[in-house]
Symmetry: C2
Subunit: 515 residues, 2 copies
């Protein structure tokens, strides 16, 4: 695992055990000319002028010309949040209260939403304009942004613009703190993998038995409708989309507990084995259920997209079931079970299309040749040859989202953030038109080994490395400079109460004080 | 990475990426006949009788015959702590307050210290008797232990006895929460690697400039004398020894910042390079300093042992220095720098011997042929061929402590606790007498990638696996049963507010509610 500095005299200890060879690094990050800006904006120009920033003399205000004023709760909420981030500690210590603003003090940040419709009460979408321009060359700094979404990114810690997406997928409970930290890293989509094989925590109004029977616990381990609303609003106030995933036909064991006949009964020889496989694709009741279920989903989640899953369908149970075999014969599928899978997915997509939602699917759905609406987002996740997959998906004209190199649940010793950082998502073979179909990337954190006890230090700052790769210019690739800035960014998160783990031997001025 | 259960229907997801093959496991732990006892005691007998345990009707009291009564603060403190552990939540919810004790309620735990000297005001030592016997066959349970140390281990969650040691080494700040959790896992020595290359946080009364100059920060990142006292007393109340390590002659960069001429000046050709190497072994001032320094250490730390380090000495700087070369010639060392290292260590050991402390050293000190007092503990840490080293060290008659297979700072995907669990520390070639020289094992967590943000979930329950290997009988090796008990033990820690990470997809009745 490569690191970024020559070995200091004396070096560090015990790194050569069990085949792990550790290269060396300085103990303390060196200053970057960009300070601790993270992720680095597309364009930064550092002026000769500099200003002091102190809480007692500083205000965030709506610019006179702004289309969003005091009635825009999203902005007022953001002003308060950033003011707390910036001066929370100083305020509490009561320092400098009696000081007056001097000529070199930055006294005001004017927030100017320039387009007639600020989007203040809207939900962010895949097409939202997130650009902004922050100018600090006089005591009145100006933050210009066409929409509120850009203003949210234009805190005083950086300058720049971009529109790439980063998705984050995390199946743990509760997501609040994660979203707060996502915003600090300009991560703008929360992919909420809300149900899975072992548990169905989503409380459905139409089918309440799904969570009553299928959740780890029907009261303590569910997301109530109110929970879901709060997650969505909390995210919206931070410019974060919430894309829910309800994965079928595989990974659905928990669905079967509360919905009779939804899953395929498996056979052992000529007898029912008592266990169940993927969603049963040969019953009409399956499609009636899905129609009602996704109708509810489409109203609960305001985002324009829903993620339909479609990954890792295990054919063994289908193979064992004589009724499935009979159906396969009737349809002329032979023994090609991917055709059966496609049959199911095709009908599901038609159902979801009636709700006027766009959809995202895992790459197997494309690989198996399912007919897709042209704007379907194909989510590439299988490691190893993902560049080939990106070529194929984009050659077929589909928008695509890359996750394969950013599976944060895979952990290893030392600075694996550098591996995430060095990825170039557009390095696959393809035309410019194909490259434009890459709508972003997504860091995934699956929950087999993660829950609320360890999710935060496992995510941060490792996901921050992905954030800069996707937010900043392609040319921003200097790992040394990234190390120096990210060290500062990590400590900034720690100061804000987020237990973001260290990159390497180091310290923060204010350490995390939790357990 | 082997797991412990056949694949459930439908299985889990995305485990076959990038060469990682994941075997499968049940979602939820199955009940063990031993409940969630962890670590498993040497002997457990489960009776037919069972009792209810409720806070309103239960008391922990000193047995009439006990040699330690209400004046033993250590025991009273422990009673309160265990009562809180057991009933903290129920008490807060105010349940059952008006209920009376029924005939099947366990109403009392009588704690009976049997030897005339309870050790109540002593410090635990390597020879402390930690055995206990807990009997729960009538409404008055009895916990018998020769000394208070055994009573501390005999909480109502298990039954048994043993005297093996587990050491834990952790260079982060602050250690309180870690010690609390160590006690829950019957880990009885805190190896405090209190200074290292990048920082010297130990505040010395004799040489205050060591931390003033050598700590990350002289106020916010130091252990004051009061801090050290509190760490030791907090540990003592939980039956935990505190063994401090002051590692020399290598890994001492931070020492050099506050102590002029302590480190060897390195040369680049014929000129001083400006950097420094290990402790300078050829100056008398070095030994004067060490004499004063370790005299202080011997009074600050009451334990009978001090760890002197001695690992990973880099000879390059010594080789570059002409004064060192001259000294080597005078001493007839030729170009064998391990002889120079031995020269230094030998003098250091003589110095420390005058303080009446025993000492521990890392294995290189033994490997390099330094003469050691017969009771010196040799600490085996180098991975790979550690069984050979154990054979050699014990053949030479030294007590030894094994760490090599338990470096918890090395992380990998999936259930690495099983690797720690499967180690058999006495599997090396040697006589019974040699095996008896193994005084215990130590789980190490070095701090390159760990600080207060992630130390707790990284340690627990991974260190718990080491704890059972060292505490329980050699025959306790069933990984399935261990998984089931450890899952419960993990949730018990979580309920007590400790963010111990999950073993696998699972849930706890009361989840961790921190960040």
């Amino acid at each position: 695992l490569p690191h970024h500095k020559p070995r200091p005299p004396g070096g560090l200890r015990r790194h050569h055990v069990d085949g792990i060879v550790e290269e060396e690094i300085e103990f303390v990050a060196q200053p970057s000319k960009f300070g601790s800006l993270w992720p680095l904006p597309q364009k930064v120009q550092i002026s000769q002028v500099s200003f002091k920033l102190t809480g007692f003399s500083f205000n965030i205000v709506d610019a006179k010309q702004s289309s969003a004023g005091p009635s825009c709760a999203l902005l007022q909420d953001a002003y308060r949040r950033y003011y707390e981030y910036m001066f929370g500690n100083a305020k509490r210590s009561g320092k400098n209260k009696s000081r007056r603003a001097g000529p070199t003090d930055l006294t005001e940040l004017q927030v100017w939403i320039t387009s007639a419709d600020s989007d203040c009460d809207a939900y962010p979408s895949v097409k939202s304009d997130e650009s902004y321009e922050l100018t600090v060359d006089q005591p009145f700094a100006v933050l210009k942004a066409p929409k509120v979404w850009g203003a949210l990114h234009g805190d005083l810690f950086d300058f720049g613009k971009d529109t790439l997406l980063l998705y984050l997928l995390i199946p743990v409970f509760p997501p609040w703190f994660t979203q707060e930290t996502m915003a600090m890293n300009k991560i703008n989509v929360f992919h909420w993998h809300i149900v899975d094989e072992p548990s169905f925590p989503y409380m459905s109004k139409t089918f309440p038995q799904l969570s009553q029977q299928g959740a780890f616990h029907p009261y303590t381990h569910v997301y109530t409708p109110a929970d879901v609303k709060m997650v969505i609003e909390f995210a919206r106030l931070r410019g974060i989309r919430v894309v829910a995933e309800f994965d079928t036909p595989g990974h659905t064991q928990s669905w079967g507990k509360g919905q009779k006949d939804l899953l395929t009964p498996c056979y052992s020889g000529s007898k029912l084995s008592g266990s169940f496989g993927p969603v049963n694709p040969i019953l009409n009741t399956t499609y009636t259920f899905m129609t009602q279920f996704f109708k509810e989903v489409s109203t609960v989640f305001p985002d324009g997209y829903v993620h339909l899953g479609g990954d890792e369908v295990d054919f063994n149970c289908w193979k064992s079931n004589p009724n499935i075999t009979k159906f396969m014969d009737q349809q002329g599928f032979g023994r090609d079970y991917s055709k059966l899978e496609s049959f199911y997915i095709q009908r599901l997509l038609d159902i979801v299309a009636t709700t006027n939602k766009g959809y995202m699917v895992w790459q197997e759905v494309f690989d198996n040749g399912v007919k897709l609406k042209p704007d379907t987002v194909v989510h590439v996740w299988i490691g190893g040859r993902y560049n080939d997959e990106m070529s194929k998906v984009t050659a077929a004209g589909y928008p695509t989202l890359l996750s394969a190199p950013w599976y944060l649940d895979y952990i290893s010793y030392a600075q694996d953030w550098q591996n995430y950082y060095k990825v170039e998502p557009l390095s696959f073979n393809g035309t410019d038109a194909q490259k434009k179909l890459v709508i972003g990337g997504e860091a995934c954190l699956w929950g087999e080994y993660v829950d609320s006890t360890n999710v935060t230090p496992r995510l941060w700052p490792r996901a921050s490395a992905v954030a800069e790769r996707l937010w900043s210019s392609k040319d921003v690739r200097d790992v040394n400079d990234a190390y120096n800035r990210l060290s500062g960014h990590r400590c900034r998160m720690v100061e804000r109460g987020i237990p973001a783990e260290p990159l390497f031997t180091s310290y923060c001025p204010r350490e995390y004080r939790g357990v």
